[in-house]
Homo-oligomer: 406 residues x 2
C-alpha cells in the first residue's frame, strides 16, 4: 500500500541520446489507390511483420488502399491513432516510432526512440504519444504532432540488494485525466504519469512480482497487471489510487508451469461482458470467467488450445478466442451468455490477431502463415471477404482513436 | 408477453407518396475554411435550430470550419453519421432528411420524407438510414448512400374499439444484428425490424401505455421505453426478445403531475455508470439512481430544476445534468461515486444540449438564447473556449459513427 510520490528522475530531453530522427519519406508509399478526399472513420492498418510494412485498408469496402513501407522491425508492433483518425502511430519492436498518414499513405514522421519498444499509448487529449521500452527501461514521451521528444522517464528503482537499476516497462496505457499508466517488470511497481502538470506528476505504487502485461477496463477505471513472478494479478482502482494496488484472482496461474514471457496471454485481450471478465488461462486449454464485482472465479470454459486473445464483440454477445502455437490455426467463438463454444473456425495458419469493426457486424482475423486476412460476419460466422497480406499480424482500426485505455 | 410476428404492412416503395427529392446543392455552403484533405475523427455538427443551418466544427481546435444552410425546420433535430465519419444525416422536425458532407461542407442529398419526423438511426452496417415519423405514423428506410427510399413501415395497429389506426413512432434506435427498434405511442407496442432479411423481418411486442421516448444501453442489449400513459417503464432484453417487454422501475413517474410530452425528459440522456443508471425524475427536481442488476431505485439526488439530459462522461466519473425551462440557464455536475453535486455552471441562457469529446477530456454545451457554445474541461470544470452560433441546440460529434444504439 506504499505510495511514493515524485521525485523521480525526469530528463526533459531536447536531444535524447540514441534518438535518431529519420527523414519523412513519401517514396515509402506504394499507394495503389489515388489519394482523394474521404472520411477516415472506416480506415485501418494491418501490420506486415516480416517486411516492415503496413497495409492501409477500408473496412467498409473490404479493400486494400495501399501499402506503406520502411517501418523497420514490426514483430509485435501495435498502433494508436490521432484524435482526428488520420494518423497511426506504429510502435515497432526495434524502438521505431512511425507516424503514418492514412490518407496520403506515407510516413509523415519517424524516429528511433529506444532500443526495444514493446508498445505505446496516446494521451486522452491527443497531444502526447508515450512509448515503453525494455532497454533502456523507461517511458519516452513525444509530441504527437512532430514526434519531438518531450521527456524521458527512466524506470529507476532500488533492488533487494540496495542497488539502483532500471526496469523494463510494460503494459503502458492511457487513462482518463490525461494520464499514462505502466508497470515495471523487475521493480514490481505500477507508475502513473499525470500529463496535466509540468513537469508531469509521477506516482509510484508497489505491485506484485514481475508484472508482464496489463489491461485497463473500457471506462479507464481499473488497471490490472498480470504477474510473471507469482500467482494472482495486481489491480489498481484509478478512482482511488491512494489505496495502491490490490491482489485479485489470487489463484490465477496457480500451479501452472512457468512459461516464457513471450508466450504469456495478452492481457489487453481480456473480454469484459455483462459484468464478467473472460480471461485466458495461463498455460491451460481454458478460458476463465471471473465475476467483476468481487473478482471471484465462477467458470472455466474448455477450449482447444492455450488462449492468447480473448476478445468480446462490441455488443458483448460473442467471445472470440485465438490460440498459442501449435494449435493456432483455429479461432473459437463462445456465446457470452451460455458460455458454450458456438463455432470453431479455420481462418488459416498461425492466427495472430483479431479486430472487430466498430459496431461489431464483422471481425477481421490475420493468419500470418497463410498470408491473408479473413473477414467474418459476426451474425453468420461465415467469411465474407479475404485480403492478401504479407505475414500479417496486428489489425488496428481508426475507431480506436475514440476509445480510452489503448 | 404476447409476441406478434409479421405480416405487417410493408410497402417496398420505389416512389414513396409525399417523398420529394430535392436537388443537391453546393451553393448552400458558406465554407469559411478551405476544403483540404483531413481526418474526420474530430469533426462534428452543431444544429442552429432557428435558421435551418448547421455548423461544421473541429473539436481538436475548437474551431468552426463552416456553415451549411438550407436544412429546413431544425427544431428538435438530431444527427447520425456514416460509417466513414464523413457524412452526417440530419433529421429535421419537418420530415426533412439531409445528408451533409462535413469535408466539403455541402448538402450531398436531401429529401422530405414525412410530415413530422422526430428522429432517426443508421443501421449497424451503415447501409440503411431509418426515420421515425409522427404523421403519418411509421418508419421510413433509406439507402444511406443515395437517400433513395427503400421501404416504408406504417405503424398500423388496432385500437380498443377495433378500429385500425396508424400510430406515432418514437424512440427509434439501431441495435446489434442490423436491427432497428422503435416504439408506437398510441399502440403501446415496441417493434423490431431485422434488416438482414428481405423483406425485413418485423416483430411486434406489447409494451406499456403510450411510450414516448426510449434509450438503449451502450452494448445494445436493453431497450427501455418511457411511458406517458402510466408509471414505470417498458424494457426489452434484445438478447431474449421472446420474453417480450417487462415493466421496470414501477414507481417511476408515480404521483407526478402529467406533463406535456414536449417537456418529458430525454431518455437518450440517461447516464449509465458503474452498474447504476442515473435517471431524470419526471417533473421533480431530482436525479434518480437505479441499480441496473435488479432495477431497484437506490437514491435520489436533489438538483436545482427538472432534469432534461442526464449524461455520463466517457470515464463514468461525472454526471452532467441540464434542465427544463425556466431553470435552464444552469448545468450541474454530479460525482458518480459520491452522488454529490460538485459544480454548478452557468454556460448561458437556455442550455439545450451537451456532447462529450470521444475520450471525455472536454464537453461542449449549447446555450440557445446566448447564441453560443461553451467548451468545458472535465478536469477543471472551467470553460476553455466559446464559439458563436445562431440559436444552437444539438451537438453531435462524428465519433457517434462507431457507437451502437444512436
Amino acid at each position: 500500500m506504499k505510495r511514493y510520490l515524485a521525485p523521480v528522475v525526469l530528463s526533459l530531453a531536447t536531444a535524447l541520446a540514441g534518438c535518431q530522427s529519420l527523414p519523412s519519406s513519401s517514396s515509402s508509399s506504394s499507394a495503389d489507390q489515388p489519394v482523394t478526399l474521404r472520411g477516415t472513420g472506416d480506415l485501418g492498418l494491418i501490420i506486415e511483420r516480416a517486411t516492415g510494412s503496413v497495409l492501409v485498408i477500408d473496412h467498409s469496402e473490404h479493400e486494400i488502399l495501399g501499402r506503406v513501407e520502411g517501418l523497420g522491425d514490426l514483430s509485435h508492433a501495435s498502433v494508436v491513432y490521432s484524435r482526428d483518425a488520420r494518423y497511426g502511430y506504429v510502435f515497432g519492436r526495434d524502438g521505431g516510432l512511425t507516424k503514418v498518414d492514412l490518407l496520403t499513405r506515407t510516413i509523415s514522421e519517424r524516429v528511433i526512440q529506444g532500443g526495444n519498444s514493446i508498445g505505446g499509448a496516446i494521451s486522452q487529449d491527443g497531444r502526447y504519444v508515450a512509448v515503453s521500452n525494455y532497454e533502456p527501461g523507461g517511458v519516452n514521451i513525444f509530441d504527437a504532432e512532430t514526434l519531438e521528444t518531450l521527456m524521458e522517464i527512466p524506470a529507476v528503482y532500488t533492488n533487494a540488494e540496495g542497488e539502483q537499476g532500471q526496469s523494463k516497462t510494460v503494459g503502458l496505457v492511457d487513462a482518463p485525466g490525461n494520464q499514462f499508466v505502466f508497470s515495471l517488470f523487475e521493480a514490481g511497481e505500477i507508475w502513473t504519469v499525470d500529463m496535466h502538470s509540468t513537469p508531469p506528476d509521477v506516482a509510484r505504487y508497489d505491485a506484485g512480482k514481475e508484472p508482464y502485461d496489463s489491461l485497463i477496463t473500457p471506462d479507464g477505471r481499473y488497471y490490472i497487471a498480470g504477474l510473471f513472478g507469482e500467482d494472482g494479478l495486481s489491480m489498481m482502482d484509478l478512482w482511488a489510487p491512494e489505496k495502491g494496488a490490490q491482489t485479485i484472482l489470487p489463484d490465477y496461474g496457480k500451479g501452472e508451469q512457468r512459461l516464457p514471457v513471450y508466450k504469456m496471454p495478452h492481457l489487453e485481450g481480456w473480454a469484459i461482458a455483462d459484468g464478467y471478465a473472460f480471461v485466458p488461462a495461463v498455460g491451460r486449454h481454458e478460458v476463465l470467467v471471473a465475476n467483476m464485482t468481487d473478482w471471484s472465479m465462477v467458470d472455466r470454459i474448455p477450449v482447444q488450445g492455450q488462449p492468447v486473445f480473448v476478445m468480446s464483440s462490441p455488443d458483448n454477445r460473442q467471445i472470440w478466442v485465438s490460440f498459442a502455437h501449435p494449435k493456432n490455426d483455429v479461432v473459437q467463438v463462445i456465446d457470452s451468455q451460455t458460455r458454450k463454444i458456438i463455432r470453431t473456425l479455420a481462418p488459416g495458419k498461425s492466427v495472430l490477431h483479431m479486430e472487430f469493426t466498430p459496431r461489431g457486424e464483422e471481425v477481421w482475423v490475420s493468419s500470418r502463415d497463410s498470408d491473408r486476412v479473413t473477414v467474418y460476419s459476426t451474425r453468420t460466422l461465415e467469411p465474407v471477404a479475404t485480403l492478401p497480406a504479407h505475414k500479417p499480424s496486428g489489425i488496428f482500426f481508426t475507431s480506436r482513436a475514440h476509445r480510452l485505455g489503448l
